[in-house]
């Protein structure tokens, strides 16, 4: 079921002045996709999710779920949360501590007064899906964090909702469990073919899970697209910086040729990804550390070769992180642990034009 949002505005009364948590959000979430709202804390992503589910009342705009208007200022429609037929996994899981696992999972059906047998079967199916068979009688508070998380998921699924919403569901798990659960969730949602809206501030989570990502900042959606598009072809400096580690270098556009855009910067003259920007304008060159692969210098004059000196080398586990000084810039690079490079070495590296991303300054 698709979700369409138009001109959504939400203001909070803050210290002395109103704070715009949502500043005119327009968004279409296609049916059957895993759609992630990504952004730093305070960007409005949770507020947007809560407006969709109906726990927050917007000040203006319209929300449609599967063609049905659930909230509209103009039409005076406000469908209450409980009538929207959605599922949600809360950040705190919101497992009711006074109920058994069965009652927690069966609740959405019980409050809709479905027959006992149907509830029992549906709960059993939902628990089997999250691999918690046989936990029915267990008291909810007697579960580990990971198990509570799966109960929350089972509860969100049990009534076969139109859409499932996830509010940072993995943030209360420890690092190792978070990675496992993320993978499970991915394959799980894939087989279900359901529309899922997922809120997170964790870029790795967003990249790994989503079919589509919307990056938010200051109550607006800055950019939207597939994980690859957001990562490799971001159009905004904020997005490029937020979605992964990036070296940002100020550059001036010198021309366009051969499907490339040429810029001049502290690293020299470089061929970059094609962008339609006026010659002479200032842009930001974004270089991901994994595409900077320094080697001992060789005598070449190929295009896009950069020379520098290794300033520092830090072992961080699977790789070395190197800081390479090029003219006035210091670039972060990821170096293979087997590369024979030491601090103080003069090195060179070639930048593939398709990985030289130009974003608005």
């Amino acid at each position: 079921m698709d979700i369409a949002i138009e001109g959504l505005v939400k203001e909070y009364a803050g210290e002395g002045r109103g704070i715009r948590a949502l500043d005119g959000v327009d968004l279409t979430i296609p049916a059957g996709t895993i759609f992630t709202l990504l952004g730093p804390s305070g960007c409005g992503k949770t507020t947007l999710l809560r407006c969709i589910v109906g726990l927050e009342t917007p000040d203006a705009g319209e929300i449609r779920i599967g063609g049905e208007v659930v909230w509209s200022k103009r039409r005076g429609v406000a469908v209450p949360t409980e009538k929207r037929g959605l599922g949600m996994v809360f950040q705190t899981y919101a497992i009711w501590p006074h109920m058994s696992v069965f009652d927690n999972v069966g609740y959405p059906l019980q409050v809709r007064r479905r027959p006992r047998a149907e509830v029992r079967d549906a709960v059993a199916r939902a628990l089997a899906r999250v691999r918690l068979e046989g936990f029915e009688a267990r008291l909810a508070t007697r579960l580990s964090g990971g198990q509570q998380q799966r109960v929350a998921l089972a509860r969100a699924l049990v009534a076969e909702p139109r859409v499932i919403l996830f509010d940072e569901p993995l943030s209360n798990l420890d690092a190792k469990l978070r990675e496992e659960t993320r993978k499970e969730l991915k394959s799980f949602l894939g087989t279900l073919g359901i529309t899922a809206v997922y809120v997170t501030h964790d870029r790795v989570e967003a990249l790994a899970l989503s079919d589509s990502i919307a990056v938010m900042q200051g109550g607006r959606i800055v950019e939207q697209g597939s994980p690859q598009k957001i990562y490799f072809e971001a159009g905004h400096r904020f997005v490029a910086d937020f979605i992964g580690r990036a070296n940002l270098v100020e550059a001036t556009v010198r021309g366009h040729a051969g499907g490339r855009t040429q810029v001049e910067c502290a690293l020299g003259t470089l061929d970059c990804q094609r962008r339609d920007v006026a010659v002479g304008s200032t842009v930001t060159l974004c270089l991901r550390p994994e595409f900077i692969r320094p080697d001992l210098p060789f005598a070449g004059t190929d295009r896009n070769v950069v020379r520098g000196e290794v300033d520092s080398l830090t072992f961080v586990g699977e790789v070395f992180e190197a800081e390479i000084r090029v003219a006035t810039e210091r670039l972060l690079a990821r170096v293979d642990p087997e590369a024979r490079i030491a601090q103080g070495d003069r090195v060179s590296f070639t930048l593939a034009p398709e990985h030289c991303l130009l974003v608005a300054a």
Binding site: E82, F90, W96, P97, H98, T141
Partner: protein
């Protein structure tokens, strides 16, 4: 060091144990003895007499009605107040904090008296006004009845129930309700299936504590219940030992044993429940706090209800007492009444040697008792918080035991004890009784103060080069002063108005304020009662103000170094 600590712990166990176990043991022994003068001669006669008396069962029925009714009223009112103050956007939230502190300012006895003055059937002020207004032949309300007792006791126990429920509601994870809405439940369904069940331990804890307190209550049963011929266990026991010609301390002890056991069981239940309510606190969300429920149009009316209850609880009793102390006899406020006002009752009280003696005794008991009590509490709290041994656990259990003691019952126990000693009918006897019964009120604020002073704070002071004394002066004492001040205020204001223990232990020559006020009530001397009562409120309030001033002064000094 470790040895010294455990010696101190055992010493304190001996002292606290003597204070708390002694009256209980004496009560038990006394219930099996033939009489105060024949202590130790074993007999079951008193139990047979007490429990064979058919009157007892009527009393028990009334007691159950009184205790359950007032606790229900207190819990429901507190639930309403706590919900409004923690979960909605109701204005004037400070009001709620003030209302919850009222019992420290207005003694229960005077609160009960002020209601009797308002709603007694013969000349209650409100009754007279209503009679005039609607031309009735009978007073519309009779406070001297079981419903009247329930109303007044319920209002009195409401603040303590509020203090238990408000924190539980404030820490309530709102996403539990939100998820219920998401999964299809409406407001009422969510309230019934999620909110109330999750709060159940806190609600039951508040109710249980209400039961313990109303079971121990003596002010309301004596001022309102006795004129209305509604005896409850507290007044039933009192009549056995106070009716002059046929006092029977053995029978009183035999009945008292049941009350005491009930109270102790209830306090154990209460502590289990509070532990359970803490267990229900789930993973809490980070950062995101949803807006409070907007009351919208209901805001005004709800605030009016809260304001009305606050008025009834704080302003009305004081006004009624002040007014009654100034007019010559019960009359409806009018131009005529104001013209007849005088300080006659005040003069009479201030010239009455017994009233003056009671004033002096209560002041002494308040100041000396609170000071000694705080010193003892300080040591006990330190051992409970800092010494993690079996002895410390035992001490904690012992010191909270007296929390459940109904004053009148424990008074009977002390009576059996003091009669065997030269302390009988001395102020010292009252002093010991007060400290023993109210020790938990001193230990609680001090224990939480010690918990706040993390050992690292002391240790880092040491590491920075400060010696033990400097550490005490610069780090521990300033952090502890607020705890000491609040413990002292609490104990002193409780001692100044102490009634239920005093009605048993106070003898001619050791009169205290509350007992003297009760005598005035028995004699129907409402004017003098009100004058003395106003003095009592003034003393309580002054103590609070002085102690608060001293506390903030000390903190300011400590801040300067």
């Amino acid at each position: 060091m470790g040895n010294g600590r455990s010696t101190l712990a055992w010493l304190l166990i001996a002292v606290v144990g003597l204070l708390t176990i002694c009256p209980v043991a004496m009560l038990a022994l006394g219930s099996f003895s033939t009489g105060l003068t024949a202590f130790g001669s074993f007999t079951l006669a008193k139990y047979a007499a007490a429990y064979g008396d058919p009157a007892l069962y009527g009393v028990v029925a009334d007691t159950v009605g009184f205790v359950v009714g007032s606790s229900l009223l207190a819990t429901v009112l507190a639930l309403f107040f706590a919900y409004l103050s923690t979960r909605t956007d109701i204005p004037l939230k400070r009001l709620f904090a003030i209302v919850s502190l009222v019992p420290m300012m207005i003694p229960h006895l005077l609160f009960a008296v002020s209601w009797a003055l308002l709603l007694n059937p013969s000349n209650g002020m409100l009754n007279l006004v209503l009679k005039d207004l609607f031309a009735l032949d009978h007073a519309p309300f009779n406070i001297y009845s079981l419903p009247g007792m329930i109303l007044v006791e319920g209002l009195l126990d409401m603040p303590i129930a509020y203090l238990i429920m408000a924190p539980a509601m404030a820490s309530f994870d709102v996403s539990l309700e939100e998820s219920s809405h998401v999964f299809g439940a409406g407001n009422l369904q969510t309230l019934a299936r999620i909110t109330l069940p999750v709060l159940r331990p806190a609600i039951l804890a508040a109710f249980t504590l209400g039961v313990v307190r109303s079971l121990a209550s003596f002010a309301v049963p004596s001022v309102i219940g006795m004129p209305g011929q509604v005896p409850v266990l507290a007044t039933y026991i009192y009549q056995m030992i106070a009716t002059g010609f046929a006092t029977d301390y053995g029978k009183a002890a035999a009945v008292g044993m049941s009350v005491l056991v009930t109270s102790i069981v209830l306090i154990v239940v209460y502590r289990r429940l509070t532990a359970a309510s803490e267990k229900f606190v789930t993973v809490s969300g980070r950062g995101y706090r949803p807006a409070q429920i907007a009351l919208g149009r209901a805001r005004g009316p709800l605030l009016a209800v809260v304001a009305a209850i606050s008025l009834v609880m704080i302003v009305l009793p004081v006004l009624v007492l002040l007014y009654t102390s100034l007019v010559p006899y019960a009359m409806v406020p009018s131009r005529h009444a104001f013209a007849m006002m005088s300080l006659r009752h005040w003069r009479e009280v201030l010239q009455d040697p017994v009233s003056l003696a009671s004033l002096e005794n209560s002041l002494f008991l308040g100041v000396a008792g609170a000071t000694l009590g705080v010193v003892l509490s300080l040591f006990v709290a330190w051992v409970i918080v800092r010494v993690k041994t079996r002895a410390a656990g035992l001490l904690e259990g012992l010191s909270y035991l007296s929390f459940s003691f109904p004053g009148i019952v424990i008074g009977v126990g002390f009576m059996w004890f003091f009669v065997q000693t030269p302390l009988y009918a001395t102020l010292t006897a009252l002093l010991i009784g007060y400290i023993a019964t109210y020790l938990p009120y001193g230990i609680r604020p001090l224990a939480s103060a010690f918990i706040q002073i993390h050992t690292h704070l002391e240790e880092s002071s040491r590491v920075c080069g400060a010696g033990t004394l400097v550490t005490l002066r610069r780090v521990v004492a300033p952090l502890l002063v607020p705890g000491i001040v609040s413990a002292w205020i609490l104990m002193a204001s409780m001692f100044v108005r102490e009634l239920s223990l005093s009605v048993v232990l106070s003898r001619p020559g050791t009169e205290v304020l509350a007992v003297q006020i009760l005598h005035f009530a028995d004699d129907g001397l409402w004017g003098q009662l009100s004058a003395l009562g106003m003095l009592m409120i003034a003393i309580s309030t002054t103590l609070v103000v002085i102690a608060a001033a001293v506390g903030s002064r000390f903190r300011a000094l400590a801040a300067q170094g």
